[in-house]
Every structure is written in structure tokens, then in C-alpha cells.
């Protein structure tokens, strides 16, 4: 592959070729696809954990643990591989992006009871408000239902993160309640809004759109549609 021009952000010229990322493509949408995390992705995580805006908007336990528990150690990757309670996937946008735009994660997975929690992180500011988070959340929800056998997915959002709340609503999640003053940003407490979706509601959403889950034959390469 030819080298792409050094980008200032996550974007590059549409005509530039992009090296195929490592990792297996797990699910494809029309704007983004999800692939498995690789050791090389820890470079991106190391950058994202220093983003104060991201920390305030998402407050990800995963990123927090990478920075404060694992001290950004490469062993973090191995720990994820042997964690039976979560699935972490990298969000890649199809065209014009030369690096991952974020993470989609199912965590606190309870296979026996059939529920899990959803976290979608769009880490590149330029990737926001493009529908990437909506589609990534949708794809990993399908994965949760199809592969993990989940019957319920839950998400918690800070009361000030309107973008995330709208994304969940667009994916058919319902606002189920408020955990009053359950979040703390170092200065003050904030409410956490709880959203949930059930399997049949996810199926209803799936019928409305064009994304699919190619589980039968995971494709190779960089996920670009033929």
C-alpha cells in the first residue's frame, strides 16, 4: 500500500489509499464497520485517554482502567482477550479516514441472564455528528443479540450528553429512568440517564435499515465494500 499523506486529523484525502488494518471485521454498516481490537490500537487508546472532553462526556471505565489501572501497559490488550464480561470493538469509518474513530463496547455482559451494557465512544471530534456513533451502536447491538444471545441492552448517559442520548433514541432505546446525582466529574454531581432496549425492539429497528451482520464469512482486508 502506498503511504497516505500525513494527516492532521483522522481524515485524509478521499483518493488516498489506506493500508488494511489488522484485526477481523466483525460487522459492517453503511458508514462504519466494527473490527476486533489489536495491540496496535493501544496507541489510539493512549491518545484518547488524555482527552478531557471525552472523559467528561463518556467517563469510560475502559479508558479509565487503561490509564489509571494498567498505566497504558501493553498487557491491557491481553487482559481484554481473557475478559469474559466484555467485548471491545474498534469503529472504523469507510472512506477518508486513516485511523479508527472510536470504540464500541458491550460490558458487564451477563450471558446467563441475557443482558449487557453498551458504550459507544466517538473519539475523533471530526467524526462526531456524522451518524458514526449511531451506526456503531446499532451494529454492536445486533452483535449482542445475534452472537451473544442478549435479550436486553442498557446504556447510561450523563444528563449533559445530549448527543449520546439522541443517538440511543435514534436506535430505538427507551429512556427508562434517571439515577439522580450518580455521576461526579470532580466538581459536582450529575444525573445519569438510563436507556434500555429489548431484543424484539432491536429486531424492529433492524427491519428499518440496511445494515447487516456477515457472521457466516468474516471478510478479510480493510472492510471496504467491493
Amino acid at each position: 500500500m502506498s503511504a497516505a499523506p500525513a494527516p492532521v486529523s483522522g481524515r485524509q484525502a478521499p483518493s488516498a489509499a489506506r493500508a488494511a488494518p489488522a484485526g477481523a471485521v466483525v460487522s459492517r454498516g453503511t458508514r462504519v464497520y466494527l473490527r476486533t481490537l489489536t495491540p496496535a490500537d493501544l496507541v489510539h487508546l493512549a491518545r484518547w485517554v488524555e482527552d478531557q472532553f471525552l472523559e467528561r462526556m463518556v467517563g469510560s471505565d475502559l479508558l479509565h482502567a487503561f490509564k489509571h489501572v494498567w498505566d497504558k501497559s501493553p498487557e491491557f490488550y491481553e487482559a481484554l482477550l481473557t475478559d469474559p464480561t466484555q467485548v471491545v470493538l474498534v469503529i472504523e469509518a469507510y472512506r477518508g479516514w486513516d485511523r479508527p474513530v472510536g470504540l464500541a463496547r458491550l460490558y458487564n455482559i451477563h450471558l446467563l441472564e441475557g443482558y449487557a451494557f453498551l458504550e459507544t465512544i466517538i473519539a475523533d471530534p471530526r467524526a462526531m455528528k456524522r451518524g458514526f456513533g449511531v451506526e456503531a451502536g446499532k451494529l454492536i447491538s445486533y452483535y449482542g443479540v445475534d452472537v451473544l444471545g442478549l435479550r436486553r441492552i442498557e446504556a447510561k448517559v450523563y444528563e449533559y450528553n445530549v448527543l449520546s442520548m439522541n443517538s440511543l433514541l435514534r436506535n430505538g432505546f427507551r429512556k427508562e429512568g434517571v439515577l439522580r446525582q450518580a455521576g461526579f466529574d470532580g466538581e459536582r454531581a450529575w444525573d445519569l440517564v438510563v436507556f434500555g432496549i429489548l431484543r424484539d425492539e432491536i429486531e424492529a429497528q433492524r427491519k428499518k435499515d440496511k445494515v447487516y451482520l456477515p457472521l457466516d464469512a468474516p471478510p478479510e482486508g480493510n472492510g471496504e465494500p467491493a
Binding site: 475478559d83 464480561t85 450471558l111
Partner: protein, 116 residues
């Protein structure tokens, strides 16, 4: 014995000494994770399709097992149960046993024989 390296699916010579009488052993090695777990389900499905109803899933060579891997084992067990006389026994190492315990799924796994 059918050997399945989660990273490189291969078929190895039969090894009847490790399997219970009348059963077929599918040996799985490597990481059974999001990227590879589907291979385990596919291998079990293929064995069942070929008429092998008593299966032993030998997981002693597994080096990593995430949620997708655990879900694959559960699905493999369900596939076996749907067959008349179908049985799937797991032969788990410590890592697999720990993952099943942590995920709270030991009650759903048909049989576990750690290290045997």
C-alpha cells in the same frame, strides 16, 4: 480427533486415546475470542452434521476466552442438545474454567471436566 486452532483452523489425525468411547474430540487451541469464536461453533455444527453426536470439546490448548468465546461454547452446547442423543462435553483448562466461572455460565455448560 478434530483439531481447531482458533487462529488457524486445521484438521489433525484422530487421537482416540484422549476421547471417551464412541465420542469425537474437537481440540481447540489458541485464543477463542470475537475474531475466532465462530470457528468453534462452525466446527461443532459440522461434526454434528456428519453424524457425530457425542462430542468432546478439548479446550486445554485455549489461551484466551472472552465473552464471545463463552457464548460460542454455549451455542455449541445448544446445537448438540438439539440432536437426538447429542452430548457435548467440555474439557477445560484453568483459564477456561475461570472464564466460565466469572461469566456465571457454568450452569449452562453441559459438562465440564477441568484438566481431565
Amino acid at each position: 480427533m478434530i483439531a481447531l486452532d482458533a487462529a488457524r483452523a486445521t484438521v489433525a489425525p484422530r487421537d482416540p486415546s484422549r476421547a471417551a468411547a464412541g465420542s469425537t474430540t474437537i481440540a481447540v487451541a489458541g485464543a477463542v475470542t470475537v475474531a475466532t469464536a465462530w470457528k468453534v461453533v462452525a466446527q461443532v455444527a459440522a461434526a454434528l452434521e456428519q453424524g457425530h453426536t457425542r462430542l468432546v470439546l478439548d479446550l486445554e490448548g485455549v489461551t484466551a476466552l472472552d465473552a464471545a468465546g463463552v457464548a460460542a461454547l454455549l451455542e455449541a452446547g445448544r446445537l448438540a442438545e438439539r440432536r437426538p442423543g447429542g452430548v457435548l462435553e467440555l474439557r477445560a483448562n484453568h483459564l477456561v474454567t475461570a472464564a466460565l466461572t466469572e461469566s456465571g455460565t457454568t450452569a449452562l455448560i453441559p459438562a465440564i471436566a477441568p484438566g481431565t
